[in-house]
Amino acid sequence: MHDIQDGKAPALRVRNLETRFRTRAGHVHAVNSVSFDVARGELLGVVGESGSGKSVTMMSLVGLLPSPPAEIAAGEVLFDGQDLLQCEPRALRAVRGARIGFIFQDPMTSLNPVFDIGFQICEPLRRHMGLSKKAALVRAAELLDLVGIPDAKARLGQFPHEFSGGMRQRVMIAIALACDPDVLIADEPTTALDVTIQAQILELVKSLRETLGMAIVWITHDLGVIAGIADRVIVMYGGQIVEQAPVEALFASPRHPYTRALLRTMPSVRGPRSATLEVIAGQPPVLSDAPTACTFRARCAYRAERCDHENPRRREVGPGHDAACFHEFDEEAAVRG
């Protein structure tokens, strides 16, 4: 597993992942043939709305989906020389929390309300790294410091409800970083937070990235957040990756109609104000069948005959930039007029 991509070895490599859910009404093909890499020191942004498959993809990587009803039908998740999808649950547990850290959207439901913060941060330290209680508490205080919570030692004895939303999310980050993971996966970690608190958390993550150098996957629907912290971006729709690009290229010349439409519908706070908002007509697809045609075609401005019969594969459209679309956009396709 020493392939080089853009000069950095991937910390995590996902190939052709397919995840389905078995329901009474049949299968839901939540993730269809998803492939991506994340390198050490890189922040990969994952953009998508509800139903795009972004969260299911990430949870599939480390076996966080209850199975049944979830089934991982195909794919490989290569991490540190092994395929996580082939691992025994025990081995996976060792990876999860220690080598791959997770941050979820709502810190109140991810933190156990009946245990104090110190206990919850120490848990992975004691279990995965075998630290003694005393040593773990010292490290826990260091971690709270690292994530910018003042008065760390005193706060170790406090409970989640004694912290504000932003503080709780910092605690989640501390827990996720506790064992110095190689990969950090954050699923909409700032979506539920106020914008000024979100700004604080984003500043924190940027500075941590400088000092810790791990691979980060950051899932969000907010393109503004992506623009602010991502190095590369993948855009997901209908259970598939529809575009992948370095962040500047994604905003400067998006090559998938969904990406282009998303960028157009966003009103901005600073730039010129548009008189009417552009919309993407229609609804996201229901994924009851494995797609045999393009999942975006019903809402696409560039729909053609071919789109109804074939599901486009990702193809290269620029350096490090690919899109799953048959349409050829102009070289310097600008989105905003």
Partner: protein, 342 residues
Amino acid sequence: MAVRDLKKHFPVLGGLLRRRVGTVRAVDGVSFDIAAGETLGLVGESGCGKSTVGRSLLRLHTLTDGQVRIGDADVSGASDAALRRLRPLMQMIFQDPQASLNPRMTLGEIIGEPLREHRAGSRSDRRDRVHALMDQVGLARTFSNRYPHEFSGGQRQRIGIARALALEPRFIVCDEPIAALDVSIQAQVVNLLEELQARLGLTYLFISHDLSMVRHIADRVAVMYLGRIVELAPRDPLYAEPLHPYTRALLSAVPEPDPRRRDTGERIVLRGDVPSPARPPRGCNFRTRCPDVMAVCEREDPVLREIRPGRLVACHLHDDDETDRGSVRSGRDPHHHEGEAG
């Protein structure tokens, strides 16, 4: 709509005997006007009191203090009977399209409920009206026998809008109507609200924490912090030149969807958390996080003052700027529909 010195305080009960041990000053002296056909955006972060303001205007809360008028009618002091007569004029669209619709009622029943409540017309009149409303919001008439769970978030929000329009209101409080929706659907709902406003001559109070959407839909914008309005201005001047330090921080915190701008200057990152509304700081309630705090800020509460025509700020930084002491309106008289919104 005219609002003067609105206050809504909630008691904090504690101890074995549940005695009052404190007060949450959710809304602490808020005043503004909204002219007919105008959209006033009300922005602020969680806990600032904006939703409480919306509910207080419709008297979904009993008011602790203050006056609310719609047109010439007094809302705040109205008797129950008078209030019931006023209700058709003022409606609300709620944030959570799932929680605000009764899951055991069909679409047709939900939209028709206000009509039944206020006994507006015969059964077939009501059915016709429900169909007309569904047309207006873009829901197929065939949906009227379906249940909310069969619809997407965006469609459920349309149901909520149709219901709000049923009694032909003049004023609608939109309480975070798009927050729970996907980005690609938000634009659809906002466009619908704008279209309805133009067609039906509606007046909106648009409550939201989403500054970019508010910029799109509002004519004027009020910024709230811990129960008070800290700035009120016409939309373009507010976004181009925010005067209150909190407004500036709020706008600067919104991530810009342009990666080329990401490391440039002016990012104001506030320290710390919002103080509890049960224990607001003495003096200016923003002083604990304000990058421009001065000595006077702890001694004196800044008053919301019109420092330039149409621009109101509550901040000691502008103590020398005031041109019109004590004025709350910003150039537009709601009772005579004169002048521009700004």
